[in-house]
């Protein structure tokens, strides 16, 4: 468990530095057990910072999400660092962003959080729908402890743990400047049984499965916007000339959209699971991403988000890449 006073002290030191512009961390949410992103610009604001298993957001997104306004004539651009708190999974997004040269390593200051798993907020909400809060969640051994309205509840870790954490292989950040706690040893493995189960179904069953999911899509693009790897200035979803994907919402365009979104993350998705978490209509987007992740690993022995100097998957090749499918 990360010690909050140590976290705040570290944050205070960092935000006090002259070469740091802002610090992105977590603070308590507005209801229930939620936590949310916090943006700290001033040492006086660090006391709101927290870290607990409710801190689900991948803050790496904000590094590339920033909308830069043109620098007024006569002014210098603000090149100070952005400090960001990341869990193990989130740190892989930073690695992948840097592997893609999205920015230079010295533009960011990484506060690493060895993570023992976060909750699935939907599961928490389902169990305690009436808690206005503020409620607190912590992990004690193999139980989540929830404290709210003067009550204390213990729930087995398994029951509230986010699915992505159940197969987490990187609980300790892969990149950091400061590490807030002892390294956490990997506590899970990934066998892709979910992907394999779907793969083994018939074509018509698979399509029936996805058709129902895709038909719910309202194209709010939250999956794209929350994704730390979706940072193109000019996204094909927004383009009008050519218009790759039409704005109308129907099964054809929705399918094309989901293919495009997942495919553009092939060899790039680092499985932070944010897209699936934010989807308001609960499309299992990770099942799409994980299929590509699995294929990329099996076919090309490639894993994104682990090496800063890895070449991008789809703009590299090996002469002996598999070609069994070619006529």
């Amino acid at each position: 468990m990360v010690d909050v006073s140590k976290l705040r002290e570290t944050a205070r030191e960092i935000i006090s530095r002259e070469d740091v512009r802002e610090l992105i961390g977590y603070r308590a949410g507005t209801y229930g057990f939620r936590a949310r992103p916090a943006f700290v610009y001033d040492p006086g604001e660090v006391d709101q910072l927290i870290f607990n298993p409710a801190c689900v957001n991948n803050l790496a997104t904000y590094i590339t999400l920033e909308e830069k306004l043109p620098v007024p004539r006569g002014q210098e651009p603000d090149l100070r660092k952005v400090a960001v708190m990341v869990k193990g999974c989130d740190s892989r997004a930073l690695v992948q962003q840097m592997a893609e040269n999205a920015y230079e390593r010295d533009r960011i200051l990484v506060i690493g959080i060895p993570c023992t798993g976060v909750v699935d907020m939907d599961k928490v909400q389902a169990r305690f729908p009436d808690v206005l809060g503020p409620g607190e969640i912590s992990l004690e051994g193999d139980k989540f402890v929830l404290i709210f309205d003067g009550r204390r509840e213990e729930i087995p870790k398994e029951e509230l743990l986010a699915d992505k954490c159940k197969r987490c292989r990187f609980p300790t950040p892969l990149v950091y400047d400061v590490l807030l706690d002892e390294e956490v040893a990997p506590f899970a493995t990934d066998d892709y049984s979910d992907v394999e189960a779907l793969e083994s179904r018939s074509q018509d069953e698979k399509w029936a499965y996805w058709e129902e999911k895709f038909s719910r899509c309202i194209r709010c693009y939250s999956c794209r916007n929350v994704c730390p790897m979706c940072y193109c200035n000019d996204c094909i979803l927004d383009r009008l000339r050519p218009q790759w994907i039409r704005r109308s919402v129907d099964i054809s365009e929705n399918t094309a959209f989901h293919i495009a979104r997942a495919y553009h993350l092939a060899g790039r998705c680092i499985q932070c699971g944010e897209c699936q978490r934010v989807c308001p209509v609960e499309i299992p987007l990770m099942e799409l991403n994980r299929k590509l992740y699995k294929d990329v690993e099996e076919l090309y022995d490639f894993e994104p988000g682990v090496k800063v100097d890895a070449p991008p998957l789809l703009s590299s090749y090996r002469p002996d890449d598999p070609e069994d499918f070619i006529l």
Binding site: G29, T30, R36, E212, R216, I218, R219, C220, S248
Partner: protein
């Protein structure tokens, strides 16, 4: 119009009867509740809190053809909404019905929107009370709404436990009563009274609130306030808060052609998207999420009341519950009040 009694066992039969119309009810798609047209009464899922996507999509579809054309032929063929036929939305919540009555003002202001208004005319709304607030983030009572609210509804079904109190509220509601006469019984005299005490009880279960008094007037004065940057820092710029809002009504218009056959269609758009206001020249009057958030809140709580005398928010709480980064409209409004 007198209230009637509808026993819960008869709801299936009622839905069967109503399936002679285009019948739309909450349905469960995996674990998500949505409004969909149903063919079989068994598909209806009425023991729900509230739907993820509001039923506004029935009268204001996410994608809607305005007219069709054939490339090379100058004739434009107007879409005939009438073809969709009489529609019944069964089981929607009072806040979502009230939202429709709010959006009606926009679509009938000055130019009348023929598509929306025709569809409204064809649609009968049969609402269901919220005995329990569907979400911790419900705050309809702050905005002249009620878990037993009647605004916008044609029939209100008050959930009395083992049966519904069937209250026709409009002419369309009276026609609905006639259609369903054989399934309805006379209500017991105590029911109406009990319903009103239940309403008070249900209102008491809503825990979140805001006093909207004065916000409309105050918002313009806070234009340059640092609060907008603060509340939008975490915003991802996605469309959840607007697409899932029962009163949000902005749309885009696009032409589509498929093998020589084309249509002009409109589709939901969101003021939180960066291209929403992007000029063809590249200039964007709302260049960052700060301006977009400010516009969203101002539109609901200042611009809309200024023009239509009603706040364009019904307190359904969807934007709070479903925001991926917990941007909370109530918190923003509190900051507006305090600023």
């Amino acid at each position: 119009m007198a209230a009637k009694k509808l026993s819960k066992e008869k709801v299936g039969e009622v839905l069967q009867e109503l399936s002679k119309f285009r019948l739309i009810t909450p349905v469960k798609s995996d674990d998500v509740v949505l409004f969909r047209e149903i063919a079989d009464p068994k598909e209806a899922f009425l023991e729900y809190g509230n739907s993820t996507v509001p039923p506004k999509k029935v009268v204001f579809p996410q994608t809607e053809t305005l007219f069709r054309f054939t490339i090379g032929n100058p004739e434009l063929r107007e879409k005939n909404v009438e073809e969709e036929g009489t529609t019944v939305i069964f089981g929607l919540r009072p806040c979502d019905a009230r939202a429709m009555s709010i959006v009606d003002k926009l679509f009938s202001w000055d130019y009348e929107d023929p598509y929306y208004l025709k569809r409204r005319e064809l649609t009968t709304l049969v609402g269901m009370t919220c005995v329990q607030p569907p979400s911790i983030n419900c705050f309809c009572t702050s905005l002249q709404g009620s878990p037993f609210g009647k605004d916008g509804l044609d029939v209100l079904l008050v959930d009395m436990g083992d049966h519904f109190l069937f209250q026709p509220l409009t002419e369309k509601g009276a026609r609905m009563e006639e259609t369903l006469a054989s399934y309805l019984e006379d209500a017991s005299p105590g029911d109406v009274e009990r319903a009103s005490s239940m309403e008070e009880e249900a209102k008491g279960k809503i825990v979140r609130s805001i006093d909207p008094q004065g916000i409309a007037e105050k918002l313009p004065s806070l234009w340059e306030d640092p609060l907008w940057k603060r509340v939008s820092d975490a915003c991802l710029g996605c469309g959840i808060c607007t697409f899932l809002c029962p009163t949000c009504h902005c749309f885009d218009m696009q032409d589509e052609v498929e093998r020589g056959e084309g249509r002009r269609a409109r589709m939901w758009d969101s003021c939180m998207f960066c291209e929403y206001t992007l000029h063809a020249s590249g200039h964007n009057p709302r260049p960052t999420r700060k301006e977009r958030t400010r516009n969203r809140i101002s539109h609901k709580y200042s611009y809309y009341p200024k023009r239509f005398d009603v706040i364009a928010c019904v307190g359904c709480g969807r934007c709070i519950s479903l925001c991926p980064v917990n941007i909370d409209i109530l918190e923003i409004l509190e900051q507006v009040v305090e600023a």
